[in-house]
């Protein structure tokens, strides 16, 4: 069989594998089930009134994740994400309350998140950048993100909180870029930690509760945030122009920590996207928390064998690389 025949054969196999026959909606039967339901729909707008006792049942919030990207000019970079939730009044016995999650996150000193990011050019969907990443968050030390392509470390971004210093390592090229991390930048980064994002997203109530599910073997409560705009102010627009985005976050019902976060985001043209409109899909899973992180991970000294570059040099390198 040639390639085309192979593809057709595979399509046929998949089609057969998922063929469940014709289904048809029985409107009369469904209306009958509806009539048997004890509850009528809530009037529109009811949800906005969280003070009503019957609304004490729920709440939510949500959150999300991260963004990172950067390559280029300052080449690369950034960040990450997390989550949110919320409930001003309380929860049902089975629900996850934002306040509890917030308190729980506040107890966490370190987190390791593992995930993937896929960036697709809006203008040319064939331009796709995909990589795996590992984020290390330390309340004391700062933030580190490693990017991998096919298990090879491509970049490391370090934001050292104590030294107020940032370092970008472009590993294949043995190049690095050093940049200061002023107080404002660190505060922005702090806002991107899970607890910071919870605070930010407390201001947003555009979330949907997704119910419970077993996520990666853990029982979790899901939330969908339909508008990530509240995150837009976290990073200068010149660096990240978040035009729209949605996110889902799953919070472990026992640990009360976000265990999986996913986001679909449309980014406008900035230096971080090499001046392209870009769609980004990011996924992050909580791997470990409250584990000891090697302090050397946050070391912003130039590693042996590396050449220090300026941002303008990096831009030229990317330009030459096409």
């Amino acid at each position: 069989m040639n390639d085309k025949e192979n593809e057709n054969w595979l399509d046929g196999m998949i089609r057969q594998a998922v063929d469940l026959g014709e289904v048809e909606f029985d409107r009369r039967k469904w209306l009958g089930r509806l009539a048997a339901q004890p509850q009528k729909p809530c009037p529109a707008g009811a949800r906005a009134d969280h003070n009503k006792p019957d609304n004490a049942e729920t709440i939510w919030r949500k959150i999300m994740e991260s963004r990172l990207t950067k390559y280029s000019a300052a080449a690369v970079v950034t960040l990450a994400a997390a989550l949110v939730l919320w409930n001003p009044l309380g929860t049902t016995p089975n629900g996850v309350a934002l306040a509890q999650v917030q308190a729980r996150i506040a107890e966490v000193e370190t987190m390791i998140l593992r995930g993937q990011a896929t960036f697709t050019s809006v203008a040319d969907p064939n331009v796709v950048v995909k990589y795996d990443n590992v984020k290390y968050l330390s309340r004391q030390e700062g933030f580190v993100e490693d990017g991998f392509v096919k298990d090879k470390l491509i970049y490391r971004v370090i934001l050292n909180q104590r030294q107020k210093q940032g370092l970008l390592l472009l590993v294949p090229w043995k190049r690095c870029v050093r940049f200061p991390c002023p107080e404002e930048q660190l505060r922005a980064v702090e806002r991107l930690t899970p607890s910071g994002i919870v605070d930010v997203l407390l201001e947003s109530n555009a979330y949907q509760r997704l119910g419970t599910a077993e996520i990666d073997g853990v029982e979790a409560e899901g939330f969908e945030l339909q508008n990530l705009k509240p995150l837009d102010n976290l990073v200068p627009k010149s660096l990240m122009d978040l035009q729209q985005g949605t996110a889902t976050v799953w919070v472990g019902t026992k640990e009360l920590l976000p265990i999986r976060m996913e986001a679909d985001i449309l980014l406008g043209k900035t230096v971080a996207t090499l001046f392209m409109d870009v769609r980004c899909h990011k996924m992050a899973k909580l791997d470990k928390y409250n584990v000891e992180l090697d302090p050397d991970l946050f070391d912003t000294r130039t590693p042996e064998g590396y050449t220090e570059f300026k941002l303008t040099d990096i831009l030229g390198m990317f330009s030459r690389a096409g």
Partner: protein
Amino acid sequence: MTENRVTNLVAAARKGDAESFSRLCEQHYPALVAIAYSQLADRGLAEDAAQEALLVAYRDIARLKDPGRFLPWLAAICRNTAIDMARARIRERYAQVEDCSPVADLCHHENDVVAAVREIIFGLDPEVKDIILLRYYNEMTYRQIAELLGMSEESVNGKLRRARNTIRQELQRRASMETEP
């Protein structure tokens, strides 16, 4: 159904118009069954889950902030309803039999390759399973899938392409294992 038409029906349903909501149901029911099936691997249960999801959606539709996001919202409710049912089903099966795979009982009388493909598909991520079902069973376009699942067409395309590669490679791996001495 045009976007305006959907928006109008959603608006009417938010005011308690069950008839309008049932028209929305009619249009999207097959896709919801597919999404539920990707979790349950059982058509009967999938139909139950889809209908239950529609009841939940009708009850909660006033909570939908953005009517333009009705489809992804509905899909998420259906998926979670199915997940809850799948969990309950697994718990029941654990109590009854050793093998609780939702797929195992479906494979007995089928062509081996089709059964293998189904097994591989049901081992994929839930979202990817949804996309495969919507593409190959419902024969939806990438755009329709993207609207329903609330993602970009590029994302649908990428996930589907990777899923097909995964299926192909896994089939090849299994075939090579069978031919090994």
